[in-house]
């Protein structure tokens, strides 16, 4: 017997992460530093929003509201995304570092979930992990190239890495249902995910001139998973839901 409250909490935080980061990625449309990067961030935005929709659909099947209502009608304190994904896109170096840190974790998370005891989630995870290969491939290529290129590119990435890291650790904020979802074999848990993530990102960063901040000196930024957000989230939600709130039947 699966604990539905624990399951829903897990799906909500993944769906909300993808919706918000998808929206942030879309802010690069028309502004990318290279045409190819403009297209890449726009394309990843489309993937992420689509993946969030599929997860909201799973929640709908579990008795939650329909995906549009869930996406557009909640206020910031009802969102379960980590604060990392709601931060503004900043300069390209920050967006690239966030893309690398977040998507590496996301690819590992869906890899783990492809063995979940909750079959609808396992099937979707199996599908999504294949798509994410393109996202992590893209992130790795750029981090490796720009992380070993010029003084300027290395300096910018290093600074963004230091700025992003406490927020990135917030991805793995433990849930109050952690023991439950492990016992139900839905998910192996945030702690194992974080360990695997550290191994993966260390290997990529190790092949560049960049250095990871010392984990022992950093306080992770938690709170997002419980509805505690920065001032950046509500304006994003207001913008995202503007059309829906004017006319919920609008089609586009």
């Amino acid at each position: 017997m699966i604990d539905e409250i624990a399951l829903k909490e897990l799906i909500y935080k993944m769906a909300d992460d993808l919706l918000i980061l998808g929206h942030r990625n879309s802010e690069w449309t028309g502004l990318g530093p290279l045409l190819e990067e403009d297209i890449a961030f726009s394309s990843m935005a489309q993937d992420k929003v689509g993946q969030s929709y599929a997860l909201y659909q799973l929640l709908h099947d579990l008795g939650e509201n329909d995906p549009d209502t869930v996406a557009f009608m909640r206020n910031a304190e009802q969102f379960h995304n980590c604060q990392f994904v709601e931060l503004p896109i900043g300069e390209y170096d920050f967006s690239l570092v966030r893309h690398f840190l977040y998507d590496t974790a996301d690819a590992l998370r869906f890899e783990m979930l492809s063995n979940s005891a909750y079959e609808p989630l396992a099937l979707l995870a199996k599908k999504i992990k294949g798509e994410l290969r393109y996202h992590t491939m893209h992130a790795d290529i750029w981090i490796k190239q720009l992380g070993a290129a010029t003084e300027d590119s290395i300096g910018r990435l290093q600074e963004s890495l230091i700025q992003a890291f406490p927020y990135a650790l917030g991805i793995f904020e433990p849930s109050e249902y952690e023991d439950q979802i492990k016992a139900d074999k839905i998910f192996e848990g945030e702690e194992i995910l974080q360990e695997r993530w550290m191994d993966k990102i260390s290997a990529v960063i190790g092949s560049t001139a960049l250095a990871l901040p010392d984990l022992g000196t950093i306080t992770p930024v938690y709170g997002g998973r419980k509805g505690d957000h920065t001032a950046h989230l509500q304006p994003l939600l207001d913008e995202m839901s503007e059309v829906f709130k004017i006319d919920p039947t609008a089609d586009w």
């Binding site: 489309q46 993946q51 599908k127 999504i128 294949g130």
Partner: protein, 160 residues
């Protein structure tokens, strides 16, 4: 009138991918099952990419085409039970893609790494002296490449 699966499958050849109008859903490999119960037809399909925006159009087109063949009770279900991968594109589909100017995805053993994205055969001149420009293209399912031989930039239907 008794309808058969073959008949329905044949009719569905008229439903094309709205973003690649030369490729039918059958050749694309996204129709995973056709179930017939009396006068009722249920078509199950699975998306190429989870966020594919064309899926709603495809569903609508399936219903329309089958209705034109006199089937009024059509149900289209989208699920992930049988998952799509690019090996499921038929030989005829691959040919259609190439003629359309899109490089067909190379067959793979379900593990896509960067090596198979390099040196994709150019659909214009057939050269393999090509480079991957970016794994993301104008739609979720395409990547962008450049041919060193004919100097054309071209797109590939991504292996997945």
């Amino acid at each position: 009138m008794t309808i058969t699966e073959e008949q329905v499958s044949g009719w569905l050849e008229a439903v094309k991918d709205p973003e690649i109008p030369v490729l039918s859903l059958v050749d694309l490999g996204v129709i995973t099952s056709i179930d017939i119960a009396g006068e009722k037809v249920k078509v199950t399909m699975t998306p190429t990419f989870v966020g594919c925006p064309a899926i709603d159009y495809m569903k609508k087109d399936i219903v329309e085409v089958l209705q034109n063949h006199g089937i009024d009770q059509v149900e289209v279900e989208v699920n992930f039970e049988r998952q799509w991968n690019s090996n499921m594109i038929s030989e005829r589909g691959r040919k259609a893609l190439k003629e359309f100017g899109l490089a067909p995805p190379p067959k793979h053993d379900l593990i896509v790494d960067i090596d198979i994205l390099q040196h994709v055969e150019c659909p214009n001149c057939g050269s393999t002296q090509t480079v991957l420009k970016t794994p993301f293209g104008p739609t979720a399912c395409r990547s962008i490449h450049h041919c060193e031989n004919c100097k054309e930039t071209f797109e590939q239907f991504k292996p997945l």
